[in-house]
């Protein structure tokens, strides 16, 4: 029986935070806040394409 594998672009992610972070100037404020909001919105892009495939 096959086990779940990890993939290059993990589930739930289109553009990983670490990739985005490299494009940003130095974050002087709350880095975790920026990261959380980035990931939350990025997940909507992921949902869009997989829901297109599965539901529509």
């Amino acid at each position: 029986m096959k086990k779940q594998q990890t993939t290059k672009r993990p589930p739930g992610i289109c553009i990983p935070w670490q990739e985005k972070l490299k494009e940003l100037p130095k974050i002087s404020g709350d880095k975790e806040l920026v990261k959380k909001v980035w990931e939350d919105i990025d997940a909507l892009g992921y949902m869009y394409i997989w829901q297109c495939l599965l539901s529509f």
Partner: protein
């Protein structure tokens, strides 16, 4: 009044959940998956409920209010073609556009040579499924979306903008719809979230059925690797849409991975090894999965019996419900089994007789939910749906 409705909702929820856990509730729950039937009952055309989801929601709520049902899908005419047209998806026959407004929406599979994924593209899919869907698949299924390397366009940009906003609008509307079902008629929203098997989705939306038939012989290792690459994503989407209260199951729509579309060996090599771990992981998170076994999956019941007790609810379409009950009834709740042809062409007396046969055969110890075999479309007679409902209430008390 509102308090009474909440009491009714809680009674129905308890009844539905108890049966799904393969236990004996106070009476057999009724959970019909009614799609275009709701339009017929509410006085809408197929075009109206497919293209205007507010009308579909209204029709679903009207049925829920008028029939004594414990749970319904809040919109079983799930594909909102307003959304699919905004994105530009070309694989639908849309009621009122190309097909008659009185015909339900259709999925149109392209010929094998025009499959949305080419046979030499498995490695791209395996390497990066999400990237493949955005960069290769979406431009092929939507003429509005520019392929990688092509100039972008107004239509391309609008497809993503309108598609994204429409999808969020639609999904957010389900919250209100579920609340209205609860407060207006005390009806439970029957499922939450979506799952399709990796092997099925490759046939449905990527290689097409005929393409996949070729691939299981000519490039079996690629097929298996692609199924494995899809597994974590399909698991993620399923769990992400699941009921946070862990009451109602994730809907798993089973299409063409079974005999006779594929051989039992193919099922054992591709379909099952890449679906079973998904179900186990979902169950480990505390969610049941509804196996909506469209067609007949009777050749594979022994495989399904490998799953943990109560991890699934098994819905019977054209399978032999008595054989299913014998094979799976001690482990899982069973639903369905009332033939759609009977609901469309039979008499109320014949429907009542058939319901009695099914209840006598499979519902004695609980763990059964009354439903038609397949999704109920507008060919079902209203009097037959009433007969199924009323007989189950009269005869289905424990």
């Amino acid at each position: 009044m509102a308090k009474d409705m909440e009491k009714l909702y809680q009674e129905r929820l308890k009844r539905y959940v108890t049966a799904m856990r393969n236990e004996k509730p106070d009476m057999i729950p009724i959970r019909p998956f009614v799609a275009e039937f709701t339009a017929k009952y509410a006085g809408y055309t197929c075009q109206e409920v497919t293209h205007d989801y507010e009308k579909a929601f209204t029709a679903a709520r009207k049925c829920a209010a008028d029939f004594d049902w414990d749970a319904v899908v809040s919109n079983m005419v799930y594909v909102w073609t307003g959304l699919t047209e905004a994105i530009g998806l070309k694989y639908y026959g849309v009621p009122g556009i190309g097909i008659p407004p009185t015909t339900g929406f259709q999925y149109i599979e392209p010929p094998e040579e025009k499959a949305f994924m080419k046979p030499d593209e498995y490695d791209q899919l395996i390497e990066d499924p999400t990237g493949f869907l955005f960069n290769v698949w979406l431009p092929r299924v939507s003429p509005d979306v520019s392929a990688m390397g092509e100039p972008t366009s107004f239509r391309n940009n609008l497809s993503f903008l309108k598609g994204g906003m429409a999808m969020l609008t639609y999904f957010n509307a389900f919250g209100k719809q579920n609340e209205l079902l609860r407060t207006e008629s005390g009806t439970v929203s029957a499922i939450s979230g979506i799952l399709k098997a990796p092997f099925d989705i490759i046939a449905d939306k990527l290689r097409g059925y005929l393409g996949l038939v070729t691939d299981v012989y000519e490039r079996p290792d690629k097929v298996l690797a692609a199924c494995e690459a899809l597994m974590p994503h399909l698991t993620h989407i399923a769990i992400g849409g699941a009921d946070p209260d862990k009451n109602v199951p994730i809907g798993h729509w089973m299409h063409r991975g079974c005999v006779p579309f594929f051989s039992k060996d193919h099922f054992n090599k591709f379909y099952w090894p890449t679906l079973k771990p998904i179900i186990e992981e979902i169950w480990a998170h505390g969610h049941q999965v509804l196996f909506y076994a469209e067609g007949s999956w009777d050749a594979h019941l022994a495989s399904f019996a490998e799953l943990p007790d109560r991890s699934i609810v098994y819905h019977v379409d054209q399978g032999d419900i008595f054989k299913v009950h014998k094979a799976l009834g001690e482990k899982f709740c069973i639903s369905g089994g009332i033939p759609n042809w009977l609901l469309a062409t039979g008499t109320p007396a014949e429907v009542r007789d058939y319901c009695k046969k099914v209840i006598d055969g499979v519902a004695g110890d609980g763990g059964y939910i009354m439903d038609a075999s397949a999704i109920v479309q507008d060919d079902a007679k209203v009097e037959n749906i009433k007969a199924m409902t009323e007989f189950t209430r009269e005869y289905g008390a424990y």
